[in-house]
């Protein structure tokens, strides 16, 4: 552990006192505990190492709840250290007391309330082990004030004794053989790759595997970067706002190979019409994911990378020229597209320009909403861990603090938070953190003066009754950035987009770009909620 993100308070004063003159651990002070936990999450997603956050008891701890839930839904390794009132005050409704292990029980992989300082070394070791192995996830360590003030001899336990904690790393051989046979039999295979591929570090094996069996690859939002979006076999994202060709391919395939995915409702649409003609192989380290939402023909429980290595050993090159022709024809006939309008910036255009100007090499974080979907559609990722987005929980306000975590991990990298004008205001206070630590994060606000995704649904499903989705009270983002000591620029014309992006990238300061975009642009294609994948609105057959 090198970096912690946090916010001090009464119950963690002893911890902060220890950090005061410690030069091994870098502490980053955010302006809100939620900012700290999202920053730790972003750090973890970008590096693969567990993120660490510290908050005080009571409100400090409860301010972490959304961030912990966010990490839990997206299987991010995170250790949250919370202060607690002294042991003899627990249960008495003491000042700044909250039962944080109880509150976070449904959203953590495990949690500890430490009642004896002699257990602390063992618990910290176990917490990091649980957070980062198997299916990763958040672990809470709740530390009463008197425990952190106490002294003990440091004894790091040589072994971990957790009799109930087990996960299967290698798949079962008999099932592997079934999978090999199914792959050889398949005429129209599709690979559906998710966050598990990135978590297990299987991107190179996936590339080899896809090329070997000549199967097109579609990725989930969490799987973005698991397979290069620029590869000929790439179909981009599938699901509600996936590409038409990815959704057609899944709907028509005879073999669907799910790798580190969980058949989320935003991916499957109507479950009973999902991949109707396909035999389904599902590889995941979490046995509870197999068969949870969709019936699986060939379950392979284990680490995606380990199983891909085994499959690669058994499988000869396959050819599916006819199938690939069909899929490529869909890609040609039903591409992602949007209409341009003279003198109006289209949000998709901004994302395309960010992609071009960074050559696809930047770290992208997003908030949640329309801009997130446009980022997923139009920013083509070549590498894993460079697209950081709140998938499962859909947390507005995640992207900016997450970008700070990414920038802390990679100080020289170009980092962009692609944001909406709604989302960015949920953790805008972290501009102070960015300025204090001289983090040159770029924020690209696709400002449509609306909660765009809410407005889109109101337009489509609620008769254009735009109930409370208009952001009439937006601040002047440029002045706001300047007030914090960051830089800002408002961009209103398409021809100014590129120079503005270049200026932001070249600036050593945090930079807020306020792109005033077309207010009523919608995200297409779209599978209406509960609809079948092959029935999309916008840009389809």
């Amino acid at each position: 552990m090198e970096v912690v993100f946090g916010y001090p308070g009464g119950a963690v004063l002893s911890i902060y006192d220890a950090l005061y003159d410690d030069d091994r651990i870098k502490h980053v002070l955010t302006r809100h505990e939620q900012g700290a936990v999202h920053a730790a999450d972003g750090y973890a997603r970008a590096t693969g190492k567990p993120g660490v956050v510290i908050a005080t008891s009571g409100p400090g701890a409860t301010n972490l709840v959304t961030g912990i839930a966010n990490a839990y839904m997206d299987s991010v390794p995170l250790v949250a250290i919370t202060g607690q009132v002294a042991c003899n005050m627990i249960g008495k409704d003491s000042f700044q007391e909250a039962d944080i292990t109880g509150i976070t029980q449904p959203i953590t992989k495990y949690s500890y309330l430490v009642k004896d300082v002699n257990h602390l070394a063992r618990i910290v070791r176990e917490a990091f082990h649980i957070a980062s192995t198997g299916r990763p996830g958040p672990v809470v360590i709740d530390l009463p004030k008197d425990v952190t003030a106490a002294r003990a001899e440091f004894r790091y336990p040589p072994e971990i004794d957790l009799p109930g904690y087990q996960y299967m790393y290698n798949g079962i051989t008999a099932k592997l053989n079934c999978a090999v046979e199914a792959i050889k039999r398949a005429k129209k295979p599709v690979i559906y790759a998710g966050g598990g591929v990135i978590a297990s570090g299987a991107h190179e094996e996936l590339l080899q595997f896809a090329e070997r069996i000549q199967a097109p690859v579609t990725t989930t939002l969490m799987g973005k970067g698991a397979f290069p979006d620029t590869h000929p076999l790439s179909l981009g994202m599938l699901g509600m706002h996936g590409t038409c060709y990815a959704n057609y391919a899944v709907s028509e395939c005879d073999l669907l190979i799910g790798l580190g995915v969980r058949f989320d409702d935003r991916v499957t649409g109507r479950v009973d019409t999902f991949a109707p003609n396909a035999e389904i192989i599902h590889v995941d380290i979490d046995p509870a994911e197999v068969g949870k939402n969709v019936n699986i023909d060939i379950p392979l429980v284990g680490d995606v990378r380990s199983i891909l290595v085994d499959l690669l050993r058994e499988i000869e090159p396959q050819r599916h020229d006819q199938w690939l022709d069909t899929v490529y024809r869909w890609r040609r006939d039903y591409p992602l597209s949007y209409c341009t309008k003279k003198d109006t910036i289209k949000p998709q255009y901004v994302v395309e320009e960010i992609y071009k100007v960074t050559n696809g090499e930047a770290f992208i974080t997003t908030e949640v909403g329309q801009h997130q979907m446009w980022a997923a559609q139009y920013y083509h990722c070549k590498y894993p861990r460079r697209f950081v987005s709140s998938g499962g929980l859909g947390t507005m306000g995640f992207g900016f603090p997450a970008a700070l975590g990414v920038q802390i991990a990679y100080p020289d990298a170009v980092v962009f938070d692609i944001a909406g004008d709604g989302s960015i205001q949920m953790n805008i206070q972290e501009l102070a953190t960015a300025v204090q630590y001289k983090l040159p994060v770029n924020i690209a606000i696709l400002n449509n003066h609306y909660l765009g995704m809410v407005r889109q649904w109101q337009e489509m499903f609620f008769n254009k009754r735009y109930s409370h989705s208009n952001m009439a009270g937006n601040p002047d983002f440029v002045k706001l950035a300047q007030a914090y000591g960051a830089e800002g620029l408002r961009v209103e014309r398409p021809e100014d987009v590129r120079p503005a992006l270049e200026e932001a990238i070249n600036s050593p300061k945090p930079f807020v770009l306020d792109f005033v975009v077309d207010e009523e642009e919608n995200v297409y294609p779209m599978v209406p909620p509960g609809g079948s994948l092959n029935k999309m609105l916008g840009g389809s057959k």
Binding site: T101, G102, Q105, P106, K109, Y110, S111, I130, L162, P163, G164, Y165, D286, P287, A288, V290, G291, K292
Partner: protein
């Protein structure tokens, strides 16, 4: 909806029961009964959980429970040969004129009378859950004042302990 009997061996920690009951409720499964107690190993608690769900759901219940860090082992005793029992204490109205009637019923059910006073009796019954239900049904007309039931506990027949049984 079927009732499934699961034997869980769990690490003896104060939070483990709430982890299990919390998981069952938030995944929208129904607990019929839950009974916990110490085992031959002081570090391990055994919980008998009766869950009501569709046959295709029980797999998911078991997998989700198995993910809990403190759950060491789960054995599904529903379709194995197992002995299952619960203990019930029943306080029933028993004025002098009805007492012999109630004593007859208690004898037929091989239950025991463990407390008597001028107005009431407490009956202790051990048996399968249906047997308790049947006794309660018969005692209904005499006026049941209160009941307490432990919920089902279960143990497989044969020499093999749950900790060594296959999935």
């Amino acid at each position: 909806m079927l009732k499934h009997t699961l034997a869980l061996l769990v690490v003896n920690r104060p939070t483990v029961l709430s982890h299990i009951s919390g998981l069952i409720s938030r995944r929208a499964f129904n607990i019929d009964s839950i009974a916990a107690g110490p085992t031959e190993d002081p570090k391990v608690t055994r919980i008998t959980l009766v869950v009501e769900c569709e046959p295709d759901e029980i797999d998911q219940v078991i997998k989700q429970l198995a993910k809990l860090v403190d759950v060491i082992k789960i054995t599904n005793l529903t379709s194995t040969k197992a002995i299952s029992r619960e203990l019930a204490l029943i306080k029933v109205r028993a004025p002098a004129e009805n007492r012999s009637d109630i004593v007859d019923i208690v004898n037929i059910f091989r239950a025991k009378i463990v407390d008597v006073n001028r107005e009431t009796m407490v009956i202790e019954l051990t048996g399968e859950v249906d047997k308790t239900d049947a006794l309660l049904e018969v005692l209904q007309e005499h006026g049941i004042i209160e009941i307490v039931r432990t919920g089902r506990i279960a143990l497989a027949r044969g020499p093999e302990p749950a900790r060594e049984m296959g999935e």
